[in-house]
């Protein structure tokens, strides 16, 4: 029996593996980390079936609230209850402080980068970021050149994915600057967890997050076009068949704004209106949950029925604000990601507080040779994808898969980057009636309006399958509530 453990806890832990991956709850010698003691005690002192009973109660809460997600690639493609784990993931106040400062710095630099590239391009002239990289990015939008955006804010809503390395350090794996999702799960997880472990929650003193919708609303309002004191803010959704539709309805309801689809909108004289039973109502701010490509058939994909023709012209005329701006995918391209530390130094004259993960750019000869020689040890990702798709996880791949990826790399090297396989941190999860560790990441949500706001914590995503490194919800990952301690 290790220090600080009771018999009950040992029984719960069972054969809990501890290796070089950082375990959120336990040090490498098995000791409980200080801030996890209270949680461990609670788990140890709960009567045998109490934990299961609480799990069932939480399951029911999720079910009745209809918190669902559509998983592509499975047979039904229907709604199912979003998988979650009962045990909260804890972050200390000191750890959070660093994350908050680091992300604030990072998002400021990314925003400046977007503004720069879509106007004078100084960073390109100074050869800090290669021109070809930017202009060959499929998410670069020429139409955004020279376009003024309110407060010069391009990225109003950002979700950055953090991993914790073996040394305990948080690093940024990627930024999501287009249409980041998951915040509704963060909010509903919290609601359910407060009911599941009320005493524990109270005793810990957890920083609140429930104000996210209010902060989001204030952020959107702060970006409204000038001269519109009571801006009409809407959430533009692709509709019921979108996998994140639940989140769209949830946020619209929490903010008290209308949920609209492209077909509800019309533009006239470069002003966007929505069609209501009380006539046409002018729209001032659109919180866009539709990708660039589908937003305006006159400017982007002409075959899209999800957008509004003329929207971009209204945007260019400054008559409507769209958050996030178009063309932000340039800065969350995985190849451009490699340059973010350089952007921080260039625009802010500071060292990055949060580091990047080591990244090989396959468009560079030297990197490419190294990667092709070590495919079985690396993770290769397509630069413009999200959701964990278009990815090769070297150590878990077959020879056939690696050969296929090698072929794709040769054909289009610009489209790929590679990173070392990271044994990122694990947190204890309730699997059956035991605690077992599973890999987790952390996605805080950053809101950028008249100032930068980061709600404490974010979504902790967990790879629920044993040994899996894929946390994305669209591929069967789950989530945990994140408690940032006071």
């Amino acid at each position: 029996m290790s220090v600080g453990h009771s018999l009950e806890l040992d029984a719960l832990f069972g054969d809990y593996p501890l290796d070089q991956a950082f375990d959120e709850m336990r040090a490498s010698n098995g000791d409980l980390r200080q801030h996890y003691r209270a949680l461990a005690e609670t788990l140890a002192t709960l009567p045998a079936d109490e934990l299961q009973r609480r799990k069932q109660s939480a399951d029911l809460a999720f079910l009745t609230q209809g918190i669902t997600f559509t998983v592509y690639g499975r047979e039904e493609g229907t709604e199912r209850i979003f998988p979650y784990d009962l045990l909260p993931r804890l972050v200390t106040a000191a750890e959070w402080d660093r994350i908050e400062r680091g992300l604030t710095q990072r998002i400021t630099a990314l925003n400046l980068f977007l503004r720069d590239v879509y106007s004078d391009g100084k960073i390109l002239n100074d050869r800090v970021v290669p021109r070809e990289l930017v202009y060959s990015c499929k998410h670069y939008r020429r139409q955004m050149r020279g376009l003024q955006v309110p407060r010069n804010v391009y990225i109003a809503v950002v979700g950055s994915d953090l991993l914790r390395l073996s040394n305990g350090e948080f690093v940024v794996l990627e930024d999501n600057l287009r249409v980041p999702s998951g915040v509704s799960y963060m909010l509903t997880n919290r609601r359910v967890m407060k009911r599941t472990f009320p005493l524990l929650f109270q005793s810990y003193g957890v920083k609140p997050i429930e104000h996210y919708p209010q902060v989001l609303l204030a952020t959107l309002r702060s970006l409204a076009p000038e001269g519109r004191p009571e801006p009409n803010i809407v959430l533009l959704t692709p509709g019921v068949f979108n996998s994140a539709y639940f989140e769209h309805t949830y946020l619209a309801r929490q903010m008290g704004v209308d949920l609209v689809e492209g077909r509800d909108l019309v533009t006239h004289d470069n002003i966007v209106y929505m069609r209501t039973t009380d006539g046409l109502k002018r729209v001032d701010v659109i919180y866009r949950r539709v990708d660039d490509d589908f937003s305006d058939p006159l400017v982007f994909r002409p075959d899209s029925a999800l957008g509004c023709p003329g929207l971009f012209n209204a945007y260019r005329a400054g008559n409507v604000t769209v958050a996030n701006a178009f063309g932000t995918g340039l800065a969350d391209d995985k190849a451009v990601y490699a340059y973010v530390p350089r952007m921080i130094r260039y625009y802010l004259n500071e060292d990055p507080i949060l580091s990047n993960v080591e990244t090989f750019l396959l468009s560079e000869e030297k990197d490419r040779q190294h990667v092709l020689a070590n495919l079985d040890k690396l993770v290769v990702k397509a630069v413009g994808e999200s959701g964990g798709y278009g990815m090769l996880i070297g150590p878990q791949s077959s020879t056939r898969q690696r050969e296929e990826f090698a072929r794709q790399i040769e054909v289009n090297p610009r489209n790929y980057i590679a990173q070392p396989t990271l044994d990122f941190s694990r947190a204890p999860c309730l699997i059956g009636d035991r605690l077992e560790p599973r890999h987790v990441d952390l996605r805080p949500y950053i809101l950028f309006g008249d100032k930068i706001n980061i709600v404490p914590g974010g979504l902790t995503r967990v790879a629920l399958e044993k040994g899996s490194l894929v946390v994305n919800s669209s591929q069967g990952g789950g989530s945990k509530d994140t408690w940032v301690l006071e």
Partner: protein
């Protein structure tokens, strides 16, 4: 509210009313057929189809059971009960945020019921049972809606859809039946004629209510008077028109912009047609034309509502 949302709520409601009407007419037609005398199966089927507004693709194939199965379960046939319930649910799904969770769950349950093997088994043993559970399911939905949904503008569109559909269907039914009702003017009827009259009332769930008002003495003129002019019975045409008027007035009054005069005139005219006449006047005139006019007015009200609240042109909306 968004025009698209009003449109979906309206049609959700209309399709459910249509499903209920179809189920009920089929049930009555079936039970009339049990008492063979006089009319043969095909004739009865044709008359029912006429009462349903002559939907296409219901060509008599010789077997009542096979026709009934089609009319209940064929989701490709727009006249079928299943098609209507599917359409209602699709509409509800698009505006799930506007209706209560209970409403959605009820409708969803009804949908799954229609598609379950159990429904097919029920059909094989007793067609009436299937039809009864459809009607029950729709009543449950309406009841749950009435108590769990906010009675705002969305609710008024639901009411408008229901009563417009019902008014139109009742006028259609009467237009089809009324020539036959006056074939014989005697007050004594043969047993079969009595059954036909009861059948007509039951198509509108009106038999017991009629008896409360007039006693069990069924005469064609009183039946038509009841189904047309009674202001208290929910399936009577006048009652429907009253509800339509209340819904429209509520919708017209709830916005900030000018209401539609044409629409107000349209419902006013329809209301007057039924509110200031007597059965004697109607019957001494041309009842067929009277009923036809009512149907036309209903269609026009639909058109005017859509023109003003849903499909208005941008130019007209911005000119205000």
């Amino acid at each position: 509210m968004l025009s698209r949302v009003a449109d979906s709520l309206y049609w959700m409601s209309r399709y459910l009313e249509r499903a209920e009407n179809t189920a009920r007419q089929l049930d009555v037609t079936m039970s009339l057929m049990l008492d063979a005398g006089g009319t043969n199966e095909e004739t009865r089927w044709q008359r029912m189809v006429a009462s349903l507004g002559r939907p296409a693709n219901l060509v008599w194939d010789g077997s009542f059971e096979s026709m009934a199965r089609k009319l209940i379960f064929d989701s490709l046939n727009p006249a079928s009960v299943t098609f209507c319930i599917n359409a209602a649910r699709e509409n509800a799904r698009q505006v799930r945020e506007e209706i209560s969770t209970e409403q959605w769950q009820r409708l969803n349950r009804l949908f799954h019921q229609m598609h379950s093997p159990h429904a097919q088994a029920q059909f094989s043993s007793n067609i009436s049972d299937v039809l009864a559970s459809v009607i029950d399911g729709i009543h449950l939905f309406q009841g749950v809606g009435a108590s769990t949904m906010i009675h705002g503008q969305g609710w008024q569109f639901i009411r408008l859809g229901r009563y417009l559909e019902r008014a139109y269907a009742t006028a259609t039914l009467l237009e089809v039946y009324q020539p036959e009702l006056f074939v014989t003017h005697e007050r004594e009827h043969t047993g079969y004629q009595y059954l036909e009259l009861v059948g007509l009332l039951r198509c509108c769930t009106a038999f017991e209510a009629y008896c409360q008002v007039y006693t069990a003495d069924l005469t064609p003129d009183r039946i038509i008077e009841f189904l047309l002019l009674n202001r208290d019975f929910p399936h009577a045409l006048r009652y429907c028109v009253d509800c339509i008027r209340i819904a429209i007035e509520s919708i017209q009054g709830s916005g900030r912009r000018r209401s539609s005069e044409e629409l107000a005139a349209g419902i006013g005219r329809l209301h007057a047609m039924l509110g200031y006449t007597s059965i004697g006047e109607i019957l001494s005139g041309d009842p067929a034309t009277f009923l036809h006019t009512i149907r036309e007015q209903c269609l026009r009200i639909h058109e005017l509502t859509y023109r003003h609240y849903v499909h208005y042109s941008i130019q007209s909306a911005l000119a205000v």
